[in-house]
């Protein structure tokens, strides 16, 4: 089986062949019409399949799809920020020096371009990036756990994001600019995901067996909690407010508990959960 060390030079080569320029890759229209086009694919909208969604007119649904895509691009952008700094902190270490660090430079470069691309879209058409509401408090880690947890977070943001990218990049019903952004992101993410899955598997094999039962239980509880709460990003009360829907907080709570939405999240997470079970990072399926 290929190791991360063997995979890295191939990914580096592909990154160089597929290199693109964030400042020239897109023709940005002067403005977009939130009420007259679809932006987020309708079936990916956070409250799709609920009575609340059906109660909206098509114009209102389209407006919601605009703010939903701005939200999606916003929290992916904010997910990429700590990802970049975490990758940089891992460069030129004893265990990453050489081909892995060489690939990490491309990984960071590509994430930086994604942030430019998402930031440009959000600021240009919505006049803002939805702020993230996260605070991270220091915690204690078992040996190797910080690295394992870091690459779990990377994989979660990238796998969930890619589920959406894949659906939207070939959706002809949505604004072509949005489809293209999803496509450009997906092409880079395919390499990041291949690398992330491999390196996380190796880190898990290296460290998890040495953890005490208590440390393993604590880690698994954290991972389930992190994965489940990552979905919270998709149900933003500020998005509902901007789309003209009253009591966004109540709508978020409704959607988080709604059966159709739960089934959607379970399905969209299944590839990720399968991976966590295969690598024994989890020992049971989380409830979404």
């Amino acid at each position: 089986m290929t190791s991360a060390l063997e995979l890295a030079p191939r990914l580096t080569k592909a990154s160089r062949q597929k290199s693109w320029d964030a400042h020239t890759a897109f023709d940005w229209p002067a403005s977009l019409e939130p009420d007259s086009d679809w932006y987020m694919s309708p079936e990916l909208i956070s409250i799709y399949g609920t009575e609340a969604f059906d109660a909206l007119s098509e114009t209102e649904q389209k407006r919601l799809s605009f703010y939903e895509i701005v939200n999606f691009f916003s929290f992916v952008l904010y997910g990429e920020r700590p990802l970049i700094s975490g990758l940089m902190n891992r460069m030129y270490r004893k265990n990453t020096d050489g081909p892995i660090t060489e690939y990490l430079h491309h990984f960071v470069d590509e994430e930086n371009k994604h942030m430019i691309m998402f930031g440009e879209f959000c600021n240009r058409y919505a006049g803002k990036i939805y702020p993230e509401k996260k605070l991270v408090f220091p915690r204690e880690y078992a040996v190797g756990e910080e690295d394992v947890a870091f690459f779990c977070k990377v994989l979660i943001v990238e796998e969930l994001g890619d589920f959406y990218n894949l659906k939207m990049m070939s959706d002809r019903t949505i604004a072509p600019l949005v489809a293209k952004i999803n496509k450009v992101h997906h092409v880079d993410e395919a390499r990041h995901l291949a690398f992330g899955r491999k390196i996380l598997q190796e880190l898990a094999e290296q460290h998890c067996a040495s953890w005490t039962e208590e440390e393993t239980t604590r880690f698994q509880a954290w991972l389930v909690n992190y994965l489940v709460s990552s979905w919270g990003d998709f149900y933003n009360p500020a998005v509902y407010k901007d789309a003209g829907i009253s009591d966004g907080y109540k709508l978020r709570k409704m959607a988080l508990a709604n059966e159709t939405c739960v089934a959607f999240r379970t399905e969209a997470s299944s590839k990720l959960v399968d991976y966590f079970l295969e690598t024994e990072l989890l020992n049971e399926r989380p409830q979404f």
């Binding site: 702020p131 993230e132 509401k133 996260k134 605070l135 991270v136 408090f137 915690r139 954290w222 909690n225 992190y226 709460s229 919270g232 009360p237 500020a238 907080y249 109540k250 978020r252």
Partner: protein, 90 residues
């Protein structure tokens, strides 16, 4: 909502989220994070709840993590303008 009601709402939300008994948070100066009632991952949900109560967004860049120490610090940071229960409501 007056300050007393907000304190009750915050306490109920925290205990419910933590699945903890009321005696884990009997005083408004009792630590929330150190007691393990809430973790980093609960804070996002908690901030959205606070926003819904005060009907105004929270500027995360303007706050220090210490505001989540206890209910007293939360009131000071997010609900400084709430009327006390004795004041007439208008």
């Amino acid at each position: 909502m007056d300050e007393k009601s907000i304190r009750d709402e915050l306490r109920m939300w925290i205990l419910d989220r933590a699945g903890a008994e009321a005696d884990r948070l009997s005083g408004d100066d009792q630590p929330i994070l150190d007691e393990g009632l809430l973790s980093s991952l609960d804070i996002v949900e908690f901030i959205l709840f606070i926003e819904s109560v005060r009907e105004e967004e929270v500027d995360i860049e303007a706050i220090e993590p210490e505001v989540f120490d206890c209910i007293d610090t939360l009131i000071e940071a997010f609900f400084a303008d709430a009327p006390s229960a004795s004041e007439p409501q208008g």
